[in-house]
Every structure is written in C-alpha cells, then in structure tokens.
C-alpha cells in the first residue's frame, strides 16, 4: 500500500513491475530534460533585450529540431516495446486463480486441484481492528506462493470491474462474459493491496483486493485450512 503523501510508485513485488518502474524513471527523466529546456527557452525569449527576433531562414536548427526529437522518440520506444513484450511472455504458470468481480466484492476460485472458492468483502470501517487500513482490508485475502508464475483469469458476474494491484504491476479489466488473463511472479513475500479500477456502481470504491504472497509450504497450509472452513 502507499504511505501517507506518497508521490511515486509502490515498491515492486514482481520482476515486471520492477521493469515498469525503471522504464518510468527513464521516460520521466527525458520528460524533465525536455521541459527544462522548453522552460528555459520561454524565459529567454520573454526576457531578451534583442530587437531582431525574426530569423527567416535557418536550415541547421530546423534539421536539429527534427532529428533530435526522432532520436528521443526511438530512445523511449525501445525500452517501452521491450517491457511490453516482456509482459506477454509465455510463462507456464504453476497456479491458475479466477478472480470474479461482483457488485461489490471479489470472489476467488482456486480450482486446479480442489474446488476452493471464497468471497472477499471489504472490512467496514467500524469493524476494523486498531491498526488496520481503512477501505483496504478484506475479510479473505488471495494467498499465492512466492517465486511461482501465477495466472489470474479475471472476469465479472454483473458489470465491468477491474482487478488491479499496483505493487504486482497488474491491472486487468473484468468484463462480464469474457475471460481476461494476466500473470505475475511474486518475487518477495508480503501483503499487497489494490482497489477496483473500473466504475461499477455505488460501492466501487469499497471493493478492494488484497494479495498475500507466502512461501509454498505456508500456501499449502493455507489451502488446507480454507478447504476445512469452506
């Protein structure tokens, strides 16, 4: 989750999110450089004492400010396409989970081996134990093993939703009647929060997503416990 007044991204929990972070740094630096240069030129033009400002012919600068932006665009496009294709890599998942969006909760189905299905409702503010995060906690978390490729099939039972967890670098629209696939590998254990990212009615802001990544042994213990309860 974000800490108070956080401006940048949350720390990455998957390799893909890490790549996205670095690409963002790269692109933002280029943006800062261009903006600084433009701002400097504006200030220089407004405060100049020169009177002869209208040059009518300037082949060299015209070539420069055509070629340089083209080069900058290539320098942005290359890492961008690299990350894009990285996200689409065939990853041979170890586990497939279905995340179904409802109004206004998520339900998760782990049906690879057993038939484990449960709903995940937001914990209402008055029911929070002291220290829990308002509007982010749920009664059941989606538990996944670390260092394992996980495939998530996202869909919806009623209206559009979107399953998003920023630390994992994942956002996938939940469309009724459609199966959307996304995947991630949790590279570190932890609890990762996200929120529904497609307007879906009155409680759209109140159906969060909590993913808990644990080592495989603990994941097996958790599934056994959930099968007993459900």
């Amino acid at each position: 989750m974000a800490h108070p007044a956080q401006m940048g991204f949350q720390d990455a929990a998957t390799p893909v999110m890490e790549e996205l972070l670095h690409f963002h740094d790269h692109a933002l630096m280029i943006v800062y450089l261009i903006s600084t240069m433009v701002f400097y030129i504006i200030v220089a033009m407004v405060t100049t004492e020169l009177t002869n400002k209208y040059i009518l012919d300037s082949q060299e600068i015209e070539i420069m400010w055509t070629a340089l932006p083209a080069i900058i665009l290539v320098l942005i496009a290359m890492p961008s396409i690299r990350v894009l294709y990285l996200m689409d890599e065939i990853n041979d998942p170890h586990l497939t989970i279905k995340a179904m969006g409802h109004q206004w909760y998520w339900s998760y189905e782990y049906t690879d081996y057993e038939n484990l299905t449960f709903d995940s409702y937001m914990t209402p503010t008055q029911d929070l134990t002291p220290g829990q995060f308002r509007l982010l906690e749920t009664d059941h978390r989606m538990v996944v093993p670390t260092d394992a490729p996980i495939r998530v099939l996202v869909s919806a039972e009623d209206v559009l939703h979107s399953w998003a967890v920023p630390s994992l670098g994942v956002k996938m629209d939940a469309v009724p009647g459609r199966l959307n696939q996304t995947a991630f590998i949790a590279s570190r254990a932890g609890v990762f929060y996200g929120q529904c990212s497609e307007i879906c009615g009155a409680n759209h802001s109140f159906m969060p997503i909590v993913v808990e990544a644990v080592p495989l042994e603990h994941f097996e213990i958790w599934t056994a416990m959930m099968m007993e309860d459900v």
Binding site: M1, H3, Q6, Q10, D11, A12, L50, T51, N52, K53, Y54, T125, L128, P130, G131, Q132, F133, R134, R188, G190, V191
Partner: protein, 169 residues
C-alpha cells in the same frame, strides 16, 4: 454617370487605388496582406507609416526646414520631428504598465477568499472524519505497516532501522 466621374478621379490620381500613394510621405512597402498601420514594437523598430499623417502648418514648415542642414535644427525641433514619425520612444515603449501588480493582487484576494469559503465549509457543512484519523489509531497503523514490511525496498519500511527501533538517519 457617377461611376465615370469617380473613375476619372482615379485617372487624375486624386483618388488612389493603392494605399501606398495616399500616405503622401514615409509609407513603406507592406510585405503581408495588410494595410500599412502604425505600431510601437521593439522587435520591429520601423513601422509601416509615420505616426502623424496630417501635418499642422508648423509641422509642415518644420519638415521644409528638415530638408536643409540638420546641424541648424534645435533640440526641440529634432524632438518634434521624432514625434511626427513615432508615437512612443523606446524608453516609453519598454516601460511597462504595472498591470501585473493588479493581477497579483487579484490572485491573492481570490486565494484568500477561497480559504475563507473552505473554513466555513469545514465548520458548517462537513461531518467528522473517520475514527481512523485519530492519532492513536494512526500510530497503530504506522506500526502495522512497519511490521508488515510495507515497501521494504526503497520506500516506507526501507527507511526504518529495525535494529534500533527508529527511523534511519
């Protein structure tokens, strides 16, 4: 009838179809598709036409005097000739209006007024914030975030020294 009489005036050059002739004196050739106009602009120091187009009798005699030696012209006469050609001197042109002071004053006023509106809203319109904003609750939240190692790489928990139980220096 009227048309032929008008057209004959054109032939006599009493009526001109080109603005450049009517000026009488000091009209530059205009490059773009506009009528020659007077303007005070620093980057275009020489306007298309002189400022004063209809000369008074004194100005006309001054213009005649200008055709002679300039050394005999007095300072006031030189200034008068300048003022025939130009409306503002460079110094007057560059001076600025001080309008920015009114603009900044207006900005501050409206920011202040907005602040008053916000204060009024907070007192009379909005209810209480949720109990999760209480300082003790926030303290527990903070501790829980550290215990859960939220953002441990470069973010939140990375800045906490777990050995000494304090923020890293």
């Amino acid at each position: 009838m009227l048309a032929t009489r008008a057209l004959r005036l054109v032939g006599k050059r009493a009526l001109s179809t080109s603005i450049c002739l009517r000026g009488g004196h000091g009209v530059a050739k205009v490059e773009d598709y506009t009528l020659p106009a007077y303007f005070d602009r620093r980057e275009n120091p020489l306007p298309d036409i002189k400022f004063v187009q209809q000369l008074s009798p004194e100005q006309k005699s001054l213009k005649e005097k200008e055709k002679g030696s300039w050394a005999v012209l007095s300072k006031e006469e030189k200034i008068a000739l300048y003022r025939i050609s130009f409306k503002e001197s460079f110094a007057e042109m560059e001076k600025g209006t001080g309008e920015w002071k009114s603009v900044v004053a207006g900005i501050f006023f409206f920011i202040g007024f907005t602040g008053l509106v916000v204060l009024w809203q907070r007192k009379y319109v909005y209810g209480d914030v949720p109990h999760t904003f209480d300082p003790e609750y926030k303290q527990k939240e903070l501790q829980r975030m550290l215990d859960m190692r939220i953002n441990p790489v470069e973010g939140f928990s990375a800045k906490w020294d777990y050995e000494n139980n304090a923020w890293k220096k």
